[in-house]
């Protein structure tokens, strides 16, 4: 093997039967794996410096919105995420000059302005959701007393902590407590009624898996819902909270 050093390449030669010859190492490999990056970075150097501050502003607004975002069902944040994402994309397009070749400044201003507007909208939207958005409280509920229920027996669904919104959406699950011995769920129904407070909404004939909206009225330090089970005599049923959420 006779290495010959050049500025950026190495030539390697080997002889003999079964020997492995390695080709040039250098720009060939770089062009295969990093050629696009080097070309991109070259073009990026030609972007105007004036495009970067608005982009960073949009990024900052979006990041603030995401950091300050409350917890809750993901579906209610869909439009906020869409606004922030669109703002970032538009602003980045402006940075890379996708909308930068025409002589008139109007298109560029429109794109940048739209991006800023969407970013602000996302931030405001997230703030609105923090104040009025839906709060999933399924993990904060429990049945008291716990254990299977029988015909006309009653229990309470308790939501730990104060009512943070004006409505409670409650979905109750009912299953046979002993699936080896009975089949009672199709004929079972529930009656749900809020306990205490100025508003004691009562809903009868609730089937398992059906969401029920209960008005919480004014502020409540606790939320309790009485559950009365209607089922065939002798049935033993396991009642639980499938989902619970506060909302306005």
């Amino acid at each position: 093997m006779t290495p010959r050093r050049s500025t950026d390449t190495y030539d390697v030669k080997s002889t003999g039967s079964g020997s492995l010859t390695i080709g040039k190492v250098g720009r060939v490999v770089l062009s295969l794996f990093a050629g696009d990056v080097s070309e991109f970075s070259g073009r990026a150097k030609r972007w105007s410096g004036w495009n970067w501050p608005p982009f960073f502003l949009v990024l900052a607004l979006g990041a603030t919105a995401l950091i300050a975002g409350p917890s809750g069902p993901a579906r209610q944040f869909a439009w906020v995420y869409a606004a922030i994402g669109t703002a970032v994309v538009l602003s980045f397009c402006r940075v890379v000059g996708v909308v930068g070749d025409s002589r008139s400044p109007v298109p560029r201003a429109l794109v940048q302005g739209s991006a800023l507007l969407l970013a602000v909208l996302g931030l405001v939207g997230m703030d609105h959701l923090a104040e009025h958005g839906e709060i999933d409280v399924t993990g904060r509920t429990h049945l008291s007393p716990s254990g299977p229920m029988t015909r006309m027996s009653a229990a309470q669904i308790v939501v730990d902590g104060p009512a943070q919104r004006s409505w409670l959406r409650l979905t109750v699950a009912v299953e046979d407590a002993d699936p080896l011995q009975q089949s009672c769920t199709p004929e079972s129904e529930l009656t749900l009624q809020l306990i205490g407070g100025s508003n004691t909404g009562r809903v009868e004939g609730v089937r398992a898996g059906t969401p029920v909206e209960l008005p919480l009225g004014g502020s409540r330090t606790e939320v309790r819902v009485q559950v009365v089970l209607s089922a065939e005599e002798g049935c033993l049923l396991a009642v639980s909270v499938a989902s619970a959420a506060f909302h306005d």
Partner: protein, 304 residues
């Protein structure tokens, strides 16, 4: 200039070329024969079978009973109704024990089970049901010396019999804390014999089954305790193997209609004459609703 025909070799028969008409007829015959060999049978099928095998009990008078090869009971009459409705060929019913019903369906030994088969979510995971076709509750059958038993508490310290493979065992097991002694035997006749012999104070299972035994053993003064029931309602369904939902739904549609007819009422009253005597309003408490049938038929689990 005409050709002189070539002389034929001596001793050789002349082979005449077959006519076009003969060849065409032969082709038609061959084609028809091949088609007949490959075409499916025109026999009606149900559950993928041209001949359906039904498994049923043979030791439950009034429900499903066999004596001298003569069958009777609610389940047997239902089998005849199903056979008439489906219009497919059925084998003679085969006997099945309570503990073997699911195994026979899963193993293919039986295509259908009509055997006081209670519908439960656990069983629905393994087989399909069409039903319910009858509702009943778990009750108690006592002998002539059971006159002092009128409520559950009167069974304290007494021996109560049921048999293996039924839903009755669990409900009775819940009474052990009250001092009730539960005895599980192999089958219904063992429990009835033990009751007649005085070895047990009561037999507990579905009231429908108990009414049948009470009628059969009227001479021994066996009686069903009125109003004394435990556990959840028992819903009888026709058991089918999974994988035949279209046929299952077809049968379920027929069952919903049948349950609303006077034939259903007549079959029950004929097979269990003690039931209308003990409970004149029995139809309203024992007839299943369409919603109940829809919620449990041809499903992997009951609808909520």
């Amino acid at each position: 200039m005409s050709r002189t025909p070539r002389p034929r070799p001596a001793g050789r028969e002349t082979l005449r070329r077959p006519s076009a008409g003969f060849a065409a007829a032969l082709a038609v015959v061959i084609t028809a024969a091949l088609t007949a060999c490959g075409s499916p049978s025109d026999e009606p099928r149900f559950l993928g079978a041209e001949r359906v095998t039904v498994a049923t009990h043979n030791d439950l008078p009034g429900i499903s009973y066999s004596e001298n090869y003569d069958r009777s009971g609610v389940d047997y009459l239902l089998f005849k109704r199903v056979k008439e409705e489906l219009g497919v060929r059925f084998s003679e019913p085969v006997d099945v024990s309570s503990g073997d019903r699911i195994a026979q369906l899963e193993g293919g030994t039986a295509d259908m089970v009509i055997a006081s088969f209670s519908i439960t979510p656990e069983r629905m995971r393994k087989i399909d049901f069409v039903g319910p076709y009858f509702k009943t509750r778990q009750g108690f059958l006592v002998g002539s010396d059971g006159w002092d038993i009128t409520k559950i508490e009167d069974l304290r310290g007494k021996r109560v019999c049921t048999w293996d493979g039924t839903t009755s065992q669990e409900a009775l097991g819940n009474l052990k804390g009250m001092g009730v002694v539960v005895q599980v035997l192999d089958d219904a006749s063992d429990c009835i014999d033990a009751l007649v012999d005085g070895q047990v104070a009561a037999v507990s299972t579905d009231q429908a089954i108990l009414y049948g035994f009470a009628h059969q053993h009227a001479a021994e003064s066996l009686r069903v305790l009125p109003g004394l029931t435990i556990g959840a309602p028992q819903l009888y369904g026709i058991g089918l193997p999974k994988g035949h939902r279209e046929d299952c739904r077809k049968l379920a549609g027929w069952l919903k209609e049948f349950v609303g007819t006077s034939e259903w009422t007549g079959d029950i009253a004929t097979s269990l004459p003690e039931l209308p005597l003990a409970d004149p309003g029995w139809v309203s408490t024992h007839k299943p609703s369409d919603a109940s049938i829809d919620a449990r038929s041809c499903r992997d689990k009951p609808s909520p």
